[in-house]
Symmetry: C2
Subunit: 381 residues, 2 copies
């Protein structure tokens, strides 16, 4: 167990697999289940750190792939780590870069040793190994580091999935051997696509290793939600009870409720922040596409039931005007709102879990947010 | 005199024409000489209103041309005016749109009646008359409205300049006849290019009309600063002593000092905000172009002598990283810094005026900011 890291399950829902708990890192404590806003390049796009905090978040995600390529882990280490570099005093989880190598980089080549790839920025050649991504994340100084994994599409062939599981297990063990920071937790990652048997075997294997938390990777990469939820459920059930469970890259509104019901404690997703920059506001009544002409003269706030700084002060007409004018403030105000919406949704989920009313909440959220399928690769670019 | 509007000169420099004073509008009081950040489309680009206030500003400029085209004055009036629309509780001066029609719009045609033009957004036909721009600005509810003027290049022919002065005078009188808001000041505008005789005649004429303030237009539109300062000086000297003098669209760092010495009280310029978005930081040691490779590993704040939120927390390396990554936060943090720099410069100017040391300050600022000539048209687009 790493110093300053503690996870406690305080209660269970009873009806579902939902758990309520608390996660402490060297940079503060958060209630779980929790959502982590994505801060890909050392910034949650458009917001100052205090605006992320004010929206209700104490743990964010940083992308190792992006940060390692630019500005480089050494530069960040010279700032005392990612916290100092970006001026964020809350918790940070960094991913391992594995998923980004598969989704963003070019010419990748996976061997037992690691993965070679070309940067999506300038085409330069790089290699990630299980050891190097731990070294990089130790330099970044995140509170939680992720192991490098092999992340095939969820519908890959059985052979490909088996091979991914095998290599990911080997890499997990190599990650443990090389980790050296006492103040950083490391999470293992379960792969296996939509294959329930492979997932089960891998969950048991990864769950047996001395990680501070366990992640489920390789979901929400093309398959419909109704195929994803049961896999999350059955996989989570085989993970250690006393360790946090993180479902990587999953986080549409409905997913959050359904996957908390499946026993998940942590989420991240680019959706609320990316949607904001595209003028898509998430409200209690569903999606609001701010560019629509019908909002030209609409004096109402984006969400009349929301108390966020954006809804407290601005009209739909003003936000539409900013979006139409290509104003930076459009992204800022919409991101503030969407993150407040996500923090509020997580609070409602925790409340519903404490009352055993998650199914009711899930149906309510499904009505406002009918599933639309995949929203693209992880990393808020 | 409009309600809630008051201007007082509290002291004079003695050595130069500089004045120290105070300007009160229905939305608060500011010290003069003062700089107004430009909020073209109902937002000082990238900043929340409280960030503009925190940078040290109590009076901003809005562009009537842009706001009249999009979203339209009626929409803004339905929000209780521009203050309510954009959530800014400080003072607002709106320009008349004259300069933007000449610099941005297409196919403009000036008659005695007004000016017809095509929108730079969608090519639609519009007409501004002296009366209509007052009606528009009354709908916007700005604290200070500007009259419509004819604004030829400063080096236009004598005939063209004479004609511009003649029409601008006629329009000034028509503006006074139509104004109806008791809580809005209206400023007249002196034209005449670089022709000292025309400027003098027009200053006397406009100065004799019952405006709450007087502006000097048509400068800093191509001529070098050393030709502009004497015209500002001689024109200001002929304007009423007891009314504020606003030098429109002028505001490079050196200009601010030199033109305060010429007797100017108010300035606006897109330079600090536009420069910020281009990664140009204004520091006590001069311009700092953040994209330069030499800042890659530079842990120092942009300006080690600055106390602004950006310099208090972020390194040059972080800002360079944000700029290189195309991050929104780059514009936000650089704009916060540049506006703090401008507020600080105005405070130093007022301090130097009170000690009669403006010439020393001017040379210091000239050394850090060698004049580079024109920075493009007004309107922070």
């Amino acid at each position: 167990m790493s110093e300053g890291f503690e996870f406690q399950v305080s209660s269970r829902d009873g009806k579902t697999s939902a758990r309520l708990g608390s996660l402490r890192t060297p940079h503060g404590r958060i209630d779980t289940p929790a959502f982590m806003p994505v801060g890909t390049q050392g910034t949650v796009k458009g917001l100052l750190p205090e605006q992320v905090r004010d929206a209700g978040f104490g743990l964010i995600l940083g992308n190792t792939y992006h940060l390692a390529l630019r500005p480089g882990a050494d530069t960040i280490a010279r700032h005392g780590g990612l916290h100092g570099f970006m001026g964020w005093d809350g918790g940070i989880l960094t991913d391992s870069g594995g998923f980004q190598v598969y989704s963003l980089a070019k010419l990748r080549k996976i061997t037992n040793e690691g993965v070679a790839f070309r940067s999506h920025i300038d085409g330069s050649l790089h290699e990630f190994t299980p050891e190097s991504v731990i070294v990089i994340q130790e330099a970044l100084g995140s509170d939680i580091a992720m192991v490098l994994d092999v992340c095939p599409p969820s519908r890959a062939s059985r052979d490909e999935l088996e091979r991914a599981v095998e290599v990911t297990t080997d890499w997990a063990e190599r990650s443990i051997a090389v980790r050296s920071r006492a103040d950083q937790a490391v999470f293992g990652i379960v792969q296996g696509g939509l294959d329930r048997t492979l997932r089960a075997e891998h969950a048991v294997k990864i769950g047996s290793l001395p990680f501070e938390g366990m992640a489920i990777g390789g979901l929400s990469v093309g398959e419909p939600p109704h195929e994803m939820y049961p896999v999350a459920q059955s996989t989570a059930a085989l993970l250690p009870e006393d360790k946090p469970r993180y479902l990587m890259g999953v986080g549409m509104p409905v997913d959050l409720v359904r996957c908390v019901m499946a026993g998940i404690d942590l989420f991240d997703c680019v959706f609320p922040t990316r949607a904001a920059r595209n003028g898509l506001l998430l409200t209690s009544a569903g999606r609001l596409v701010i560019k629509h002409a019908r909002f030209r003269e609409d004096l109402k706030p984006p969400d009349p039931h929301c108390q966020c700084p954006t809804c407290s002060r601005y009209s739909r007409a003003y936000l539409r005007h900013l979006f139409a004018g290509g104003e930076i403030l459009s992204s800022v105000l919409c991101t503030i709102h969407n993150l407040h919406f996500y923090a509020g949704l997580m609070a409602r989920i925790r409340d519903a879990a404490s009352r055993a009313t998650l199914e009711t909440l899930a149906r309510e959220v499904e009505a406002a947010y009918p599933p639309k399928g995949d929203e693209g690769p992880s990393g808020d670019g």
